[in-house]
């Protein structure tokens, strides 16, 4: 097996064009995929119609103000607004496909918000019209807008709480308020209590007022104690609520790292499959197979040699690729041994699949074509998000992801690169099992097709 390995490496070294293609092509594909996945899609076009009169967009409460047009500007960071002058025009834009959504702000939004803040009644509403033709586009626009509206909502509730807390503080400790352009001092509960305490002690012991004022002090104590407790609770609510986004049934690897993992595994798959299938088919097309099977090498030995050759070369290429990419995207170098493990196991599983393909084909070109035809749908199917399809199709996708090495290799690599859960053990085991299964299939294919 050693001499066959040496021989194949010699052949590869003398086929610079083939090797160049084998390396450049997958890397190019991988980079394109990586870019496509990591660069965010453009902002969705949203028709925007505000019925709020210019300059009337301010909501004030307490000493604070919310500027509606500022909120709108923030929203425009996530979308590409197409300003229109009527509700009908906004709807027409969506219907014509010139905008994927329309956002209509009613003229009384300011009053609505004001009443919610001051009286606690009403629910300020904006109108969102979505294009139902393209579900992906619709989802995209909806997400962009609802994320922003969430932030606005949070900003408002934070403001309200901040005002409430500071008002409470003033009730307790005193301060001043602006009323009709004048500063009015506010006494505060604690000071009131102290004043009353002083008043009581200055009264003659027999005064009937004493009893009444004692009751006022007792109430003040109770109120101070209660409000003193309420204040920190309120301020804790008032601190920014962090939104924890959890994607169900998804992985939690950072997006950029995940994109790198995809690019690396796509390359690994292409290089391994093409090498394993091609080099095995080469033995047949050069007729050397008939010499080898005369007891010089066992079929198992020949297959293992091709798997090791393909996995070794591909793992080396993709390892270099990952190292190069780590200059731009954070990959955890502390887990380097796991990178090697993930790529080696992935390479072995893909290599076994490759020789199963090569065992069927008689010629290098046929083998390469088959390897290519097999790999594209495997990658494609493994990358379809599970929540984007019906449950029947989802079962099918799950089966494909389980039967072919792509998904497992991707999980292993993304774990190796970023150390996020789920762990690397299960994917590696999965890959090892697939390597054995495809190796056995290749053995069968060779027995079936070698004499034909």
């Amino acid at each position: 097996m050693r001499w066959l390995l040496v021989k194949d490496l010699q052949i590869l070294r003398r086929s610079p064009l083939l090797v160049g293609l084998l390396v450049v092509y997958p890397v190019a594909i991988a980079l394109m995929i990586g870019f496509a996945l990591s660069s965010p899609p453009g902002k969705p076009k949203v028709a925007f119609y505000s019925q709020v009169a210019p300059g009337k967009g301010r909501v004030s409460f307490g000493s604070q103000q919310i500027n509606i047009s500022k909120v709108a500007n923030e929203l425009f960071q996530s979308i590409q607004p197409v300003r229109v002058r009527s509700r009908a025009e906004a709807i027409a834009k969506v219907r014509d496909g010139q905008a994927s959504a329309a956002l209509i702000v009613p003229g009384d939004i300011v009053n609505q918000i004001q009443s919610l803040i001051t009286q606690g009644v009403g629910s300020p509403t904006v109108e969102l019209i979505l294009n139902s033709r393209n579900p992906l586009e619709r989802q995209f626009a909806q997400q962009a807008i609802s994320l922003r509206l969430n932030q606005v909502e949070q900003a408002v509730s934070k403001q309200v709480l901040r005002v409430a807390v500071s008002d409470l503080h003033q009730v307790l400790n005193g301060g001043s308020v602006q009323l009709l352009g004048q500063t009015v001092p506010l006494l505060g509960l604690r000071n009131s209590r102290t004043i009353i305490e002083g008043t009581i002690s200055s009264l003659p012991p027999s005064s009937s007022l004493r009893v009444a004022l004692r009751q006022v002090v007792a109430f003040a104590d109770l109120a101070i104690e209660g409000l003193g407790f309420a204040s920190p609770v309120l301020s804790s609510i008032g601190t920014p609520l962090t939104v924890q986004q959890t994607q169900l049934a998804g992985q939690t690897t950072p997006t950029a790292t995940y994109a790198v993992a995809i690019a690396v595994i796509v390359s690994l798959m292409f290089v391994t499959l093409l090498l394993a299938a091609g080099m095995l088919a080469l033995e047949r097309s050069e007729n050397a197979y008939s010499r080898l099977v005369r007891g010089l090498v066992s079929a198992e030995g020949l297959l293992s040699e091709k798997i090791v050759l393909a996995a070794g070369c591909a793992a080396a290429v993709t390892l270099v690729m990952a190292a190069a990419v780590s200059a731009f995207v954070h990959l955890d170098w502390g887990r380097f041994e796991l990178w090697v493990l993930a790529l080696a196991f992935g390479g072995l599983a893909f290599g076994a699949l490759g020789v199963a393909i090569g065992g069927v084909a008689r010629e290098v070109s046929a083998a390469s074509l088959m390897a290519f035809l097999v790999s594209l749908p495997i990658a494609f199917v493994a990358l379809i998000p599970a929540d984007a399809v019906s449950s029947g199709l989802k079962t099918f996708l799950d089966v494909v992801a389980f039967v072919f090495p792509f998904k497992a290799a991707l999980e292993a690599a993304s774990n190796a690169f970023s150390g996020t859960s789920p762990g690397i053990g299960l994917p590696l085991l999965h890959l090892a099992v697939l390597a054995v299964v495809f190796g056995l299939l290749a053995r069968l294919a060779l027995r079936r097709f070698a004499s034909a």
Binding site: L4, Q10, E286, N287, S290, R291, L292, R294, G295, V297
Partner: protein, 244 residues
């Protein structure tokens, strides 16, 4: 491997017993038996598709027969095998091909075997050239050289002259005759009747999977009737009389 060692004594270099091979419903070889004595030069002759390659592949151990078996004397070296299509790595040089197969055959001294074969095939000055760049004749020489690396006592050649021009053929037969003269048993196939008559000490006639004749060229001529006709027309009429 279908080559087994027969129990008891065996004087023949190759013994084939009722070899049968089917590809699906097609019978490629139908119960063929023969023996080859040591040092003999045997021609397997027959039209294309007669089963020559199938027969030699089974003897060589490349194909397993469906029935029957091939045996050789106990302790003898494996047969040398030269397939019909040149079986070489075209990206490797002449010497690298020879060296690779010498190592795979576990020849005691691979480097010495490479040197010897380069000398015997007269390809010393081409040893570093990629096989893919060689002429058809030279490629066939390397192909044969690989079959001889392990110094086999029996050499099987499948249509060795088919792809060669007349001058290259001449040199090939000189080479094979030298081997036979040194005592190597040679079994070759050909569809060229004249070649079989000229170089074969014995001919096996195969047609449609059946062994029709086993004897010397002279005997074949006689069987086909009268000494008036030349060998080629005798062969043709022999086949025609038997319905082929």
């Amino acid at each position: 491997m279908s080559t087994t060692t027969a129990p008891g004594e065996q004087t023949a270099a190759v013994v084939a017993r009722s070899l049968t091979k089917r590809f699906g419903r097609r019978v490629a070889l139908a119960g063929t038996s023969f023996e080859v004595r040591p040092g003999e030069l045997v021609a397997v002759i027959g039209p294309n598709g007669a089963g020559k390659t199938t027969l030699l592949s089974i003897v060589a151990g490349v194909l397993a027969p469906d029935e029957g078996e091939v045996s050789q004397p106990p302790g003898s070296r494996p047969f040398g095998w030269v397939p019909q299509q040149v079986a070489l790595y075209s990206k490797l040089s002449v010497a690298e091909n020879l060296r690779l197969f010498a190592r795979l055959e576990r020849v005691a001294d691979p480097e010495a075997a490479v040197k010897r074969m380069l000398a015997e095939t007269g390809l010393e000055d081409r040893s570093d050239e990629e096989v893919g760049h060689l002429s058809g004749g030279n490629r066939q020489r390397v192909n044969i050289g690989i079959g001889l690396l392990a110094e086999p006592s029996v050499l099987l050649l499948d249509e060795p002259s088919a792809a060669l021009d007349p001058r290259q053929r001449e040199r090939l037969w000189e080479f094979i005759s030298r081997l036979a003269a040194r005592g190597t048993t040679v079994m070759f196939s050909t569809h060229d009747v004249a070649e079989a008559e000229r170089y074969g000490e014995r001919v096996l006639v195969l047609a449609d999977a059946e062994l029709l004749f086993d004897g010397t060229p002279v005997e074949l001529e006689r069987t086909a009737g009268g000494g008036t006709r030349d060998f080629e027309s005798a062969f043709v009429s022999f086949l025609r009389e038997r319905g082929h």
